[in-house]
């Protein structure tokens, strides 16, 4: 394995993954479904006694997160394992590229796909909200907590994307050393555990055992703290999301992804495909 990493090789692999993902019919159907769901939220809004904008934002952001997670987990675990299953990994490794470049390229390719998805879904959400805003009388609009097309929606969408990058890195990590089914199970489990950060940190409130509480606290630091990326409530209720918070959370995400990718490269480099 060559220790040097060629940016052009990585970007070529990423571009291929992106093209493959975009060509993937499942990916299209998920995006389409998300757009339909956001449009459907307009209809659901009629049931909510004046809370249409909140419900549309809630549903829209939840859909972006949910479908992004599906893409990150189920396409992410296939990035490496599919090559192994198809035995196309031999042809790939025979080319002038390192395993490190392969893992990085695969990761960046899927994150690019996710970025396009998140952007498309966010734009669709904002369009739905803008249409709703245009159709709503001024007197009703003044009572809204935040404007329908609140620019902070982009902040929530951005942090969802950073979270999805972590989930993708987790999926790739597991797919480098285990089967796709197990990798999916492990990734889903880790994503769920990642939302219990505060509970893990304060586990001593639940159990009397000091060692167990310390183990839980250790897990809090080791497991990805995904709940920190969830600012949907603040955005929907027009509460402040400080730029420093976004920067620190993004920084945490970037460092966590880097650590996961290093582990992925390590495991993948030691894997014997004979």
């Amino acid at each position: 394995m060559s220790p040097a990493i060629s940016a052009s090789t990585v970007s070529r692999i990423a571009a291929n993954v992106f093209k493959e993902s975009v060509r993937d019919k499942v990916l299209y159907s998920i995006v389409l479904f998300a757009v339909i769901l956001i449009a459907a939220s307009l209809l659901l809004g009629q049931l909510t006694a004046g809370q249409e904008v909140k419900i549309i934002k809630d549903l829209g952001l939840a859909a972006i997160s949910l479908f992004g997670h599906f893409i990150a987990i189920f396409i992410g675990i296939g990035l490496v394992s599919k090559e192994v299953e198809r035995r196309s990994i031999y042809a790939l490794l025979a080319k002038p590229m390192s395993r490190t470049e392969l893992v990085l390229g695969k990761f960046l390719g899927l994150v690019s796909t996710l970025a396009v998805n998140v952007v498309v879904m966010t734009v669709a959400l904002v369009i739905v909200l803008a249409v709703y805003e245009a159709m709503t009388p001024e007197a009703v609009r003044t009572a809204w907590e935040a404007p329908a097309t609140d620019p902070r929606i982009a902040v929530a969408a951005f942090l969802i994307l950073v979270e999805l990058a972590i989930v993708t890195a987790v999926a790739i990590l597991f797919s480098t050393f285990t089967s796709p089914v197990l990798a999916a199970g492990f990734t889903v489990g880790l994503v769920i555990a990642g939302h219990f950060g505060a509970d893990l940190k304060n586990f001593e409130q639940v159990v009397d055992s000091v060692p167990v509480a310390w183990i839980a606290r250790g897990l809090y630091y080791v497991l990805p703290n995904l709940s920190a990326f969830d600012v949907k409530s603040q955005v929907v209720h027009a509460q402040p999301v400080e730029a420093l918070y976004v920067a620190m959370t993004t920084g945490y995400g970037a460092l966590y992804v880097t650590a996961l990718l290093m582990l992925s490269v390590l495991f993948f480099s030691r894997r014997d495909f004979k």
Binding site: L44, L47, T48, A49, G50, Q51, K54, I55, D58, L59, L61, A62, S65, L66, A139, V140, A143, E145, V191, I192, H195, F196, D199, L226, S227, F229, D230, K232, S233, V236, H237, Q239
Partner: protein, 307 residues
């Protein structure tokens, strides 16, 4: 046709026919056995904290679902035409919605209005309405609207004007509080139970209402008060006319012809007031959208004991 491939059209047609027969069978079974009647509403998860953890990062959507369920439960029960009106799930549903989304402003405010509505239009639980709003205040301590609404609950549902005034006063001290809270507190303390105070209260609600529904409801209450004022002014006119005609039955056209009125009087929603010809009693039209009017009898003004 490729050998081995099944013909599409006959298969699609056959599948469609079978599906249609299945639907017909289902309709007949439902009619025969009533299997399409929804089961009693059940709240599977009762703890907001458990629900919040189960929802992962989808707690806001889960809160919306509980909110919609609360609305449907309240509206469905209120409109039910048979059986006892049971609102027992209303508070748990609102508790779940606000537990999942602690800043769900409208769930607190609507919820309190719903809960404090007296039976049979609501569960008649001002205590739970206050509990819900206090929960909202815990999440947003500077929300003067919740203090205003607690005052409203004490005023309207409990007829406890002193406590209502205290809450209006407390709300008025919060930063950004509406201008009307201070005078409302003073008027409530001095003239609690009077129609003029009720008018001020609903005007304040119409101004502080952060949803179209709250504003419309407050505007309807104000129209009710206008109708009550109008009826109060019509009654002496009718009495005077009856005295002039020796107690004979009267109608609105009689009063118009006699010059006592310029036109047949209507309530603010456009319904002609009902005039009982033999007694001269003036009421809202049976079909008036302003029915039922608030009860202003002296017994209604007595404080309602806390449960």
């Amino acid at each position: 046709m490729t050998p081995g491939r099944l013909p599409a059209v006959p298969f699609l047609f056959a599948a469609g026919v079978i599906m249609a027969v299945a639907i017909v069978l289902q309709v007949k079974r439902d009619r025969a056995y009533g299997t399409d009647v929804p089961a009693t509403q059940v709240l599977y998860v009762q703890s907001p904290e458990v629900a919040r953890r189960m929802a992962l990062s989808f707690d806001m959507v889960a809160a919306d679902v509980y909110w919609i369920r609360a609305l449907q439960h309240f509206g469905g029960t209120r409109r039910a035409t048979s059986g006892e009106k049971n609102y027992e799930l209303l508070y748990p549903l609102l508790d779940m919605a606000t537990g999942l989304d602690p800043y769900f402003n409208i769930a607190y405010r609507f919820g309190a209005i719903f809960l404090s509505q007296s039976k049979p239009d609501g569960p008649g639980r001002p205590d739970l309405a206050e509990k819900l709003l206090l929960k909202g205040l815990k999440a947003s301590p500077t929300k003067w609207e919740y203090m205003h609404d607690i005052g409203f609950v004490h005023y309207w549902a409990r007829h406890d004007y002193k406590t209502a005034a205290e809450w209006f006063e407390r709300g008025s001290r919060l930063p950004g509080a509406a201008w009307f809270l201070k005078p409302l507190a003073a008027v409530t303390l001095a003239e609690g139970g009077e129609r003029s105070t009720s008018r001020l209260l609903f005007q304040s609600l119409a101004e502080s209402g952060d949803s179209d529904w709250v504003r419309k409801d407050a505007a309807r209450r104000l129209r009710q008060l206008d109708a009550m004022d109008a009826m109060d002014s019509l009654r002496p006119l009718v009495a005077q006319h009856r005295a002039r005609v020796g107690g004979a039955p009267v109608t609105w056209p009689d009063l118009v012809r006699a010059g006592a009125l310029r036109d047949v009087p209507t309530d603010p929603d456009g319904f002609i007031f009902a005039l009982e010809p033999s007694t001269g009693e003036v009421q809202l039209a049976p079909k008036s959208t302003l029915r039922p009017l608030p009860d202003e009898s002296p017994s209604r003004r007595r404080p309602v004991p806390r449960p």
